[in-house]
Amino acid sequence: VITILFYQRKSVAEVAALLAIPEGTVRSRCFYGLRALRRELERQGITGP
């Protein structure tokens, strides 16, 4: 979800249609995915580009 939203610049509705999931699920997966990503990056000691 994150990679499609960010790298392919798709909208929430487009990602929902593409993956056949509700828009709310796109939002929550995006949010929890980013959170998980932040935790993993913090664990590796990366806090900025």
Binding site: L5, R9, S11, V12, Y32, L41, I46
Partner: protein
């Protein structure tokens, strides 16, 4: 999670929220300390993602044991992996984090970076001699308006910056919010509800002061080769 607006922050910070959702997030933020705190924690992620070549992410995040249903698209493979998705999410996150770790090491400081997706982009730039802030914006058409990739140099460290977009018709939108997390050039994603040709200017504002203004000439043209030089 203690606020139902919080799940919108993910698409908001990626610049993928549509204008109505972006406005509702912005209307909500001043009154919600927990969402503000969460947004600040997520703020560096788009810059980190932008430092990863998309091809590297695609390779590393495709689950190796997932069988392609259509034999072609990686998204098809992701869809087909839905059944055992949860077991893999940790692995995908780790792989994406690893891609970022590699990119931060390899790409940092590189002056040449393709616009993701390779679409033709309108390139604009501006500088402010008083604040010593310079900025370049690549505007790409999207289904909801315009995707903006803003590169900014010289912004004060750890200060909340906003990108304010003005339309030729006189409207304004906040297209993105971020904290300048390092002194070198940073790239932030943003989006506006207007087409690129309807955008008159972009302004980076911090603490009520305009750091830099980028004016869009009326006949700015999409330029694929210029986009590569960004």
């Amino acid at each position: 999670m203690n606020c139902q607006m919080m799940t919108s922050l993910g698409v908001y910070v990626l610049g993928a929220a549509e204008p109505a959702e972006r406005r509702s997030v912005e209307a909500h933020l001043p009154g919600c300390p927990s969402c503000r705190a969460e947004l600040i924690r997520l703020a560096p992620i788009p810059g980190l993602l932008a430092s990863v070549p998309p091809g590297a992410v695609r390779q590393r995040t495709t689950p190796p044991v997932a069988v392609a249903t259509d034999g072609s698209s990686w998204m098809g493979r992701l869809r087909s992996a839905e059944g055992s998705r949860r077991a893999r999410i940790g692995g995908i996150v780790t792989a994406l984090a690893a891609s970022i770790a590699v990119a931060v090491g390899v790409v940092l400081g590189a002056s040449s970076r393709p616009v993701p997706g390779g679409h033709s982009a309108v390139l604009l730039s501006g500088m402010n001699a008083a604040t010593h802030v310079r900025s370049t914006a690549a505007l790409t058409r999207s289904s909801w308006g315009t995707s903006i990739r803003l590169t900014i140099r010289g912004a004060p460290l750890n200060v909340r910056c906003r990108l304010v977009v003005r339309s030729r018709a006189g409207g304004t939108e906040t297209a993105g919010v971020w904290d300048a997390w390092r002194e070198g050039p940073i790239t932030v994603p943003a989006s506006a509800g207007w087409r690129a040709s309807d955008i008159a200017s972009l302004q980076v504002v911090a603490r009520g002061r305009t750091l830099v203004t980028i004016n869009a000439p009326r006949h700015a043209r999409a330029n694929r080769s210029a986009a590569r030089r960004l």
